[in-house]
Amino acid sequence: MLETFWILLLFPLVGAAINGIFGKRFSPGLIATIGCGSVFISFAIALLTFFELLGLAPADRAVTNHLFTWIESGNFVANASFLFDPLSGVMILVVTGVGFLIHLYSVEYMRGETGYYRFFAYLNLFIFMMSTLVLADNYLLMFVGWEGVGLCSYLLIGYYFETRVAGDAAKKAFIVNRIGDFGFLLGMFLIFQTFGTLEYHSLFSTVAERFPAPEIGFGVLSGITLLLFLGATGKSAQIPLYVWLPDAMAGPTPVSALIHAATMVTAGVYMIARSATLYSRAPESMLIVAVIGIVTALVAALIAIAQRDIKKVLAYSTVSQLGYMFLAVGVGAWASGIFHLYTHAFFKALLFLGSGSVILAMHHEQDMLKMGGLKKYLPITWATMGVATLAIAGIPPFAGFFSKDEILWNSLVSGHGHLLLWVAGVLVAALTAFYMARLMYLTFYGKERFSHESHGHHDDHDHHHSGPPKEPSLFVTLPLMILGVLSAIAGLVGLPAWLGDNRFEHFLEPVFHYAYTGDGHQGEHSHSLEIGLTVVIVTLALISIFLAYRFFVKNPAIPERIAERFAGIHKLLWNKFYVDEVYDALIVWPIERISRFVLWKGIDVGIIDGAVNGVASLMQGWSNRVKRLQSGYARAYASWILFGAVLIFLYYYLAN
């Protein structure tokens, strides 16, 4: 399949076209079959290609499929060609694999929705765009996918477009992403301006040639990398552009799982890892990426503690985990960042899908304070979400433990690392364990805080009846179980050095061939130190979980008392540090005012419309006077002719 792996792109595109154009007349079964089937075929092709890639020697593991020359203008060439190497291989497997499971889940979750066909068409289109993004072999084609996933994200957040919340959230996501895209575009321009190509391989070899050592101070590479990073902060929801992601939860839960947890939001991390050659030569940018990452992780984790909406907690958790990934790539641990991306895709998708299952059972109630005691009603959801929680909390041997441990270790010992980054990272790990344990305890343990009769508002799912909450069908639980298994074991491919061989890192190594590694070399650190730090982190996570148990199961009065005691801090966290309000006041409000009063009423109405209408009314006024000349009296015309003739005569007479 290596020669023609690009055909995997076609299936979701065709699926999207068929469902989008003809889906209205199809039965739900047919729509679901087309939607899931196309992604499954893509996944199968990706898997086959991946195994063929594994059969090659590590140095040869980069295969390009050239389709056609897309743009050719002067010395600018952009090809529609696709690259399959270890990095894009891992990404495409995550995208199509997790994507397929979420499609499967949606079959049940979205049943009975009016836009069933529309949903699957968008979802398939998303898989196509995301595959383009990760398989592209140049920045411009990556940008096509980058914009495409942004479009799909917009369409899917606004899936319930009849409600104002969803429409606003969709617009917010799109506009905030546009700010980032602007940075990405400028970064691309600067790359082409400086190096004359956007194709990965030739670009990276040129960079490695022209910059044998990292640049000192703020140079062109810092400019490029920071502009690209602006794009990443938009797409991957980092400070200062993270505000759209929590609102994006207005979309259906499978969308939150697929786009806003597992795949699209990790595009920024992928892009930076892909650009490792550039970043590794711009130490200033690396530091900024790492600091932004860890600050985002910390802020989002703090906000997550105080949220009551189960999806909001997960959304902030996603922002926080993405911060971890940026920390990893910021300290030059490219493989660790991708490793966390890959484990995170499993356990966070699982958490979202699990929360979807809970929300279904609770008849679209999302407030955790109105749940509780669901363990006995939803055993499968409880078990799988439990696994995912242990994974994200970093409890060995679940997937998140290995990737998080790698990141924290690298943030301490890599050439770009720092003790402060490590301390903040450990703090985030403890907070993560705490808020996730809180989510589990509030949802599945303790007293039932809902009534069996009327759950929340009425919905149009006629297959849900009132009565005790019950587990959804196999379509929902099967993806949960598969993801549960993956969340448990996926980390084993990247064992830490003291336990064995980090095969994941070695596998990705050829991708970062051109990245600068000179003084970033990890010194010799004893395994005992690494083990010691790991024990510290795991102990902290366990203590956090225990604390959450004390707070939310044993003695539910404690959190309330704490919230009262520290009312100010609680209010700050509950209101998400007022970031939205600050953005509104500093950016949205002035822009709105300027647009309304200066651009619209001043320039548009006053000057542009004024000029157009002014010319017209001037002409009208003149014509009203001049038209009197045409009086209808033939003798008047004759007089005018005479008058004109006399004038001409006089002119020549006087001129001589």
Partner: protein
């Protein structure tokens, strides 16, 4: 021997009379005749110059003018007939409906 100047003065006088007639008279037929007068004043000027320079160009022009004037008279008289049928008068000021 009549000098060229005398011919030209006579032509100017005839032309002025014709112009005045077109402007001040309201009777369409009178106006029409005034136009003929103007045409012939020009003809006279042409001939005066033809004689003055001893060339036939002016004479040829006069033939042209006479031909065109004949055609114009045919069309013009037809228009006047229609106008009088419509308005029961040949007063030009009554035919003033074609205006802004």
């Amino acid at each position: 021997m009549v000098s060229t100047t005398q011919f030209l003065v006579l032509g100017a006088i005839l032309f002025s009379i014709g112009t005045l007639g077109v402007i001040v008279r309201r009777n369409t037929i009178t106006m029409f005749m005034s136009i003929e007068l103007m045409l012939n004043a020009v003809n006279l000027t042409f001939l005066a110059f033809a004689r003055h320079f001893d060339q036939v160009d002016g004479q040829i022009f006069v033939f042209f003018v006479m031909t065109v004037a004949a055609a114009e008279a045919a069309v013009g008289l037809a228009l006047i007939v229609l106008l009088s049928k419509r308005n029961d008068s040949v007063d030009i000021d009554q035919a003033n409906t074609m205006k802004w």
